[in-house]
Amino acid sequence: MKHLQGAGWKYGILLSAVLVVLFIANLFVGSVNIPFGAVCDVLTGNETAKESWRFIVLESRLPQALTALFCGGALAISGLMLQTAFNNPLAGPSILGISTGASLGVAIVMLLGGSMMSGTMFQLSGFFATIIGAFAGAMVVMALILFFSTLVKSNLMLLIIGIMIGYVASSAISLLNFFATVEGVHSYMIWGLGNFGGISMDQMPYFFITCMVGFLISFLLIKPLNALLLGPRYAENLGVNIRLVRNWLLIASGILTAITTAYCGPIAFIGLAVPHIARLLLGTSNHNSLMPVTLLCGGVIALLCNLICVLPGENGIIPLNAVTPVVGAPIIIYVIVNQRKIQYFN
């Protein structure tokens, strides 16, 4: 794992290329068998044999690929920031309970039958209510964590608080499920399997913008994140305002987790595994190259998982959260087993 000068650029270009290939593959490959030529026709604006094919490629596959791309990147970056800030290689967007909070929001909407939502001026229908519920749930937990961040200086203690909040949210979800209808429980379970196909092209701008805001804040945190590698005391001495940086980090992570969970359901593993994949590839902890490479890797992995989901073809689709751990878990095991050999753990 020799660190070569410019490895960051090398992998950046390589991953970008793979990303483009996978993105295009996701347009050509899906659960419906559309001939190669037909997809080309659709993309070039020509006439196709079946009108439904045009629709599928442009209104179903395209937004799905875009969603996977941004979702993967968002979760990966979120995971990276949390792992560095909390000096914990097992940190991820779910560890602070933010995605559990989002799940609780959805559980409230789905399982309490929207009794709180209806009766207001505007009628919130199923999916829309789900998005609001998820986002609200995530933001509430994030606000809680931020509040505790002002009280607690130690990172380890804050992490434990986050885990505890996650447990409480989980238990509330269990309770809601217990008293719910069979259909409600089933709907919630299905939502929990994750889905890149929930966003239509007209909703895409909101998703895109929110992700971009999260990305922007994250990239602005590259410099203090590098300083944080030395530990809080050294970072302080280098002029980093630890509390402020931690708060912005939580906000960025919170926004990215909230928006992805709201639109796609709680997606497992990408936030935890992808930063490690990026570190393994690059062989560095330097966020100047690690951050963008993590972003690209996240997109690549998500697009790959999206492809795997449609493998059964005629028989249906595999749920997303069944695929992501199969890709992610072996990687984490590899990292743990080889800990001694991997320098950035020393």
Binding site: S31, F55, S125, S187, I190
Partner: protein, 381 residues
């Protein structure tokens, strides 16, 4: 007199010999003269044989049709318990009080006039039958809690004669309820893949509560109506294409061609979009696959359970690409909100009402003037 005595003796000896010879075995063999098999025309998983001293009901295992799910021996209460009964669960009929897990069966019992036999129900808050709600309030029907985790104490307190629940594959037992020593009726009617097959089970349930005649005539009416409707659509030239269901997260659960849903659509004389999927049950397909197949469907049926009725606008909010279905564009989407409409409670044993709905919507010229019972056109917003 001597000859009849003689005959009786032979008869008795034969019976004794036959019953004795079958002791210890589960399978009963009897000569056609003595036994009277209930002629079930449609139900595949049920076999009922009337014997002199008791009635034998054999339920076939729907998941492994070579095996028996359960054998029931129905012995009339006013007759003594016969000796040498075959293996099986003994139920004294007519049943006094029953714990009825599913509102589908409660509903049937009310229709058969057997409602006083309902001792307890499960999932009370989802039951829309006013009779049940009222009796529960009066304390005459017990709320036994949740069907997956029923309140055992209340059930024991009731001293019921029977527990009626729905079996499921590899159930591994029904929990503590089994240990109470109360006969458990595994109502496998829902596993029948034909609508009439499922409805026909009402004749068996009628037997349990001493309501055979009513149940039989009820079924006759249902059968007559259903077949009449089938005949109505038999020679229809133009079959509208029909689409069913909605996307839930990443999956669109699609009923296959040989499922009960598929069969009803076939009987209604419509071209169900997935009739070529020649198997039972349903599959999780992607939006793409459904769109590819059913984008040009003329009519779209959706069932859902929500506080408010769905509208075209709310469907758009759910997933904007729905608007590209022809049925959506032409505003031919029909919805049934099972929260307010007793779809599940009624259609199991009144498939003719459901079939009528579908025909009224897809072939209005065949049933002019009739209103739909379950599916209503979606409102704009």
């Amino acid at each position: 007199m001597r000859s009849s005595k003689h005959l009786s003796f032979v008869f008795f000896a034969l019976t004794a010999f036959l019953t004795l010879s079958s002791c210890g075995g589960g399978k009963v063999s009897y000569s056609p003269g003595e036994a009277d098999t209930l002629k079930l025309k449609y139900a595949r998983y049920l076999k009922v044989v009337r014997l002199p001293k008791y009635t034998l009901a054999t339920l076939r295992n729907p998941w492994d049709t070579t095996k028996t799910l359960h054998t029931y021996i129905l012995v009339p209460k006013d007759k003594p318990m016969p000796d040498g009964l075959p293996n099986g669960t003994v139920i004294r009929i007519p049943v006094g009080k029953a714990v009825v897990y599913s509102s589908v069966h409660s509903s049937l019992m009310i229709q058969m006039g057997a409602q006083q036999h309902i001792g307890a129900v499960c999932g009370l808050r989802y039951i829309k039958l006013p009779y049940i709600q009222e009796r529960c309030r009066e304390g005459k029907i017990i709320d036994a809690g949740d069907d997956l985790n029923p309140d055992i104490e209340k059930i024991i307190d009731l001293h019921p004669d029977l527990i009626m629940l729905s079996p499921f594959e590899n159930s591994g037992g029904y929990g503590r309820v089994e240990k109470l020593g109360i006969p458990i009726m595994e109502c496998a009617d829902y596993m029948e893949d034909s609508a009439l097959g499922r409805a026909e089970w009402m004749r068996f349930y009628g037997l349990l509560f001493g309501r055979e005649k009513i149940a039989d005539s009820l079924f006759t009416i249902v059968e007559k109506n259903y077949l009449a409707l089938c005949r109505l659509t038999a020679n229809v030239k133009l079959k509208p294409k029909v689409l069913d269901g909605q996307k839930s997260s990443a999956t669109w659960y699609v009923s296959n061609g040989n499922s009960p849903t598929g069969h009803i659509y076939a009987d209604a004389g419509v071209a169900y979009a997935f009739s070529d999927r020649k198997k039972n049950g349903f599959d999780p397909l992607s939006f793409e696959q459904v769109f590819e197949k059913a984008q040009d469907a003329d009519i779209w049926f959706i069932k859902y359970n929500m506080k408010e009725d769905k509208t075209y606008k709310s469907m758009l909010r759910d997933y904007a690409p729905y608007q590209n279905f022809e049925a959506f564009k032409n505003h031919r989407v029909y919805g049934c909100n099972t929260n307010t409409v007793p779809y599940y409670e009624e259609t199991s044993f009144h498939p003719d009402w459901l079939l009528q709905d579908i025909i009224v919507i897809s072939h209005p010229e065949l049933l002019p003037g009739k209103q739909t019972r379950y599916y209503k056109p979606l409102k704009e917003e």
